[in-house]
Amino acid sequence: MRVVVNGVEHALADGSTVADLLRVIGVAPTGVAVALDGQVVPRNQHQGTEIPAGAEVEVLTAVQGG
């Protein structure tokens, strides 16, 4: 299936979870936050939350700013 991660299209196995996605894109789950179609997915739900096809996922972290 195709999903959009941080504005870029990715191919992902059907039934992949948020935890799977982070592994695929090589991001450690600490210090990041994930929004799935505009809703925050808490870290303790990364394993159990399946990503629907065509979903828009945002993966954010802290950077210098403000």
Binding site: V32, A33, A35, L60, Q64, G66
Partner: protein, 251 residues
């Protein structure tokens, strides 16, 4: 002299809140943060890239500085609320510096979106520190909405134009029941001192230090400026007079 800054029950001995934006690299930033004496410092939230994290959170943790995530770049209440919720998840803090910018040229706060987002985040259980216009009416509305502080601008972000309407800042301070933090527009140490003389509880600045020729030296200057202004505010300045008054005896 024990004179802590207290925000939402948290105590800080420094009244200088720093930002991390604009520093050339983390080593320069570290020296500036240490010289500033700050205990609370803002970070932004952005999409992760292939290079991984920026290292700024690790730096703050090592220096014992509390991170204060912001919602810079958000143009609507909805975007700011989502960013704040993501920040809470990523950083494990429910403190948020709420920013909703009206447009890119001025970066002025959009008051309608700001108040809307503040109310939503307070209901969410966040400790909300809003970056606001120097508008005493809006500041009051933000406090009534449950914000833990109000943070009026001295002038637009990054301009270094100082405090353009000192009387408005005094009006905000006079009626506020929460800490007033002068946020944005500070150019040099005398601006920071003025903010404190006007009665602000703290000063938040970034550009004036991180983009100074010598960030570490300017950070130290800001630290002293804030301390001097705070002392002067509490010391009871002499009234301004039209005519001279001799300070030496007549004979």
């Amino acid at each position: 002299m024990d004179d802590p800054l207290i925000i939402a029950g948290r105590e800080y001995s420094s009244r200088l809140i720093m930002g991390t934006g604009g520093a050339g690299n983390l080593a320069v930033l570290e020296r500036a943060l240490v010289a500033s004496g700050t205990e609370l410092t803002t970070v932004a939230l952005r999409r992760v890239d292939a290079d991984g994290g920026s290292g700024v959170l690790e730096l703050l943790a090592r220096l014992g500085i509390d991170p204060l995530p912001n919602t810079a770049g958000c143009r609507t209440a909805a975007a700011a609320v989502l960013t704040a919720r993501l920040a809470r998840e990523a950083l494990g803090t429910d403190w948020i510096k709420l920013e909703v910018h009206a447009d890119e040229r001025t970066l002025l706060p959009d008051p309608v979106e700001l108040l809307d987002a503040a109310a939503t985040l307070v209901a969410d259980g966040c400790t909300v520190l809003p970056y606001t216009n120097d508008d005493p009416v809006l500041a009051r509305r933000l406090e009534e909405a449950g914000c833990a502080a109000v943070m009026p601008l001295g002038s637009p972000i990054g301009t270094g134009l100082g405090i353009r309407n000192p009387h408005n800042i005094e009006l905000i301070v006079a009626r506020a029941g929460v800490p007033v933090i002068l946020d944005a527009g500070i150019g040099t140490a005398s601006d920071a001192a003025l903010a404190m003389e006007l009665g602000c509880a703290a000063v938040l600045l970034a550009t004036s230090v991180t983009r100074a020729t010598d960030p570490e030296r300017m950070a130290a200057a800001m630290r002293h400026g804030v301390t001097a202004g705070r002392l002067a505010h509490g010391a009871g300045r002499v009234p301004q007079r039209f005519w001279a008054q001799a300070s030496s005896p007549p004979r």
